[in-house]
C-alpha cells in the first residue's frame, strides 16, 4: 500500500538532508580530517568488494602462469639467474663500501645509519578515479603498516601510505596533485621540492630560481627532510629546464624513476624511528621471494 502516511519525507526534503550530510562529511573529512581512525574500519568493511573486483585479474594471472610454456620458463629462469649473478657481484662491492663508510663515519664520530626493515608487497588495485593517483597494496595494519610510510619499487620512490586498512592500505603516488616530496640533487646537493601534477610521468620542481645550477639529466634523491621519506632513495631525473625570464621561477620538469604506470611488486620501508615495526612473522617475508 502506497499511502501518503507510508511515504516518509518528501523528495525535496530528502535531497536537502542528503546534501547537508554530504557537505558536512566533506568538510569533516577533508578540512578537519575527522575520519582518519574511522577510515580503517570503513575500508575493512568495504574490502570484500575490493577483493571481488580484483578476482578477474587474479584468475587471469593464475591461468597465465599455468599456461606459460616450459621454454618460456627456462629462458626466464636463465635470465633471472644471470641478473642475480650480476646483482650479487654489485652487492659484494656495496657491502665493502658500506663497511668502509661505517668505519669512516665512526672515525668522524658521525652516528652510523641504522638498518631499515623492508617488506615486499603486491599491488592489489589501481584507482580509476581520474582526479587522484592512488593504488591499493595487499598489506595493512596487521602487518605493521603505518600512516605516511614510504613505498618504493625496484627503481625509486613510489609514494606514501595515506590510509591503512586492516589487511590492505592505500598509497598516494608521488605524481598525485596533492603530493610533494623533498629532494636533493646528487650532483651538487641543492635541495628542491618535487610536486606531482596528476601526470604519471611528470613532476615539477617548485620555486627554482633562474640562477640555480640544475641541468637536464641531474639525478634527484630523497633528502630526508620532512621526516616522511628516508634520505638517499632515488626519486626522479631532470627532464627539461626552461628559463623564461618573464616568470619569477624556472620551469623544471622531472621524470619519476619509479615506473608508476606498471607497478607490480613494491617495497615498504620501516626506518628505525618508525612509529611501529612489523612483527617477527611478517619480517620473515623480507628474505623470502615474492610469489609468482
Amino acid at each position: 500500500m502506497d499511502t501518503i502516511f507510508t511515504r516518509g519525507p518528501s523528495l525535496n526534503n530528502r535531497l536537502a538532508l542528503a546534501l547537508a550530510l554530504s557537505v558536512l562529511l566533506i568538510v569533516a573529512d577533508h578540512k578537519l580530517a575527522a575520519f582518519q581512525s574511522t577510515r580503517v574500519y570503513l575500508n575493512s568493511i568495504m574490502s570484500p568488494l575490493q577483493y571481488l573486483a580484483n578476482l578477474p585479474s587474479v584468475m587471469l594471472n593464475f591461468s597465465a602462469q599455468r599456461l606459460t610454456s616450459n621454454q618460456a620458463l627456462v629462458s626466464e629462469n636463465s635470465r633471472l639467474t644471470n641478473q642475480n649473478l650480476m646483482m650479487r657481484e654489485q652487492l659484494q662491492q656495496f657491502e665493502i663500501l658500506q663497511a668502509e663508510n661505517e668505519q669512516l663515519r665512526k672515525l668522524l664520530d658521525v652516528p652510523v645509519e641504522p638498518k631499515v626493515h623492508k617488506m615486499v608487497v603486491e599491488l592489489m588495485a589501481v584507482d580509476n578515479n581520474p582526479f587522484s593517483q592512488q593504488i591499493v597494496i595487499n598489506k595493512g595494519a596487521i602487518d605493521g603498516v603505518y600512516l605516511s610510510q614510504s613505498v618504493l619499487d625496484d627503481r625509486g620512490v613510489v609514494g606514501q601510505v595515506m590510509e591503512v586498512g586492516s589487511t590492505n592500505s592505500r598509497v598516494v603516488l608521488i605524481s598525485d596533485v596533492t603530493h610533494a616530496i623533498p629532494v636533493r640533487s646528487v650532483r651538487n646537493n641543492i635541495r628542491f621540492i618535487a610536486s606531482g601534477h596528476g601526470d604519471m610521468d611528470e613532476l615539477f620542481l617548485e620555486h627554482v630560481p633562474h640562477s640555480v645550477d640544475i641541468q637536464p639529466g641531474d639525478m634527484l634523491m630523497s633528502s630526508g627532510l620532512g621526516k616522511v621519506f628516508p634520505a638517499g632513495y632515488p626519486v626522479a631525473q631532470v627532464e627539461s629546464v626552461v628559463h623564461d625570464e618573464s616568470r619569477p621561477f624556472a620551469t623544471v620538469k622531472v621524470r619519476p624513476l619509479a615506473q608508476l604506470d606498471r607497478l607490480k611488486y613494491l617495497l615498504l620501508l620501516w626506518p628505525h624511528d618508525a612509529p611501529r615495526q612489523p612483527e617477527g612473522s611478517a619480517l620473515r617475508q623480507v628474505t623470502g621471494q615474492p610469489k609468482g
Binding site: 523528495l11 530528502r14 542528503a18 562529511l25 568493511i45 568488494l49 573486483a53 582526479f131 596533485v177
Partner: protein, 160 residues
C-alpha cells in the same frame, strides 16, 4: 519472506555495479569505463521511485567514496543530486523511448561528472581535462542494454 528476498535483488545489482566500477582495467580502457553505479541507480529510481531514491543514492555514494578513496561525501553529493533530478521527473522519463532516455542519461552523466570535478576542484586544485567526460559516451551506449537486463530482472522477480 519471499517479498523481502526480492529487494535483495536491488541491493545485489547495486553491489555488482560497485564492483564493476572499481574493477581494475587496462589504462587505455579505464578512461571509457561507464558509470555503472549511476546507471543502475537511475534505472531503479525510474522504475521504482518509492524504493530507490535520494537515500539509497546517498548511501551508495558513501560506499563509492570509501572504495575510491576520495573525501567522504563527494560521490554521495553528486549521486544524490543526479538521482533527485531523475526521481523528480520519473513519470515523464518513463514515456520516452530508450534512445531518448539514453540522451537524458548522457546529460545526467555529464552533470554528474562535472559535479564531481567541481567538488574535487574546491578541495584540491586539479586542472580540467576533457578525458574526464569520456564515460558520458560509454554510459549512453550502455544504457539500452542495461535497461533491458534490469527490466528483465525486475519483471522476472516481480519487484514492485
Amino acid at each position: 519472506m519471499l517479498i523481502k528476498a526480492r529487494y535483495y535483488a536491488i541491493l545485489l545489482s547495486i553491489l555488482i555495479a560497485l564492483v564493476l566500477q572499481i574493477m581494475p582495467l587496462p589504462i587505455q580502457a579505464d578512461l571509457y569505463r561507464p558509470d555503472w553505479v549511476l546507471i543502475v541507480l537511475v534505472y531503479w529510481a525510474m522504475a521504482l521511485p518509492h524504493r530507490v531514491n535520494v537515500g539509497v543514492a546517498f548511501l551508495t555514494g558513501l560506499a563509492m567514496d570509501i572504495l575510491l578513496g576520495s573525501a567522504l561525501g563527494i560521490h554521495s553529493f553528486a549521486l544524490s543530486v543526479a538521482v533527485y533530478v531523475l526521481a523528480a521527473n520519473y513519470q515523464r522519463l518513463r514515456n520516452y523511448s530508450v534512445w531518448q532516455q539514453a540522451i537524458i542519461i548522457g546529460l545526467l552523466s555529464s552533470f554528474y561528472h562535472l559535479m564531481l570535478f567541481w567538488l574535487q576542484h574546491l578541495l584540491t586544485d586539479i586542472p580540467f581535462q576533457f578525458a574526464y567526460l569520456w564515460p558520458v559516451i560509454s554510459s549512453m551506449v550502455l544504457w539500452p542494454w542495461m535497461f533491458w537486463v534490469l527490466r528483465k530482472a525486475r519483471r522476472q522477480l516481480s519487484i514492485t
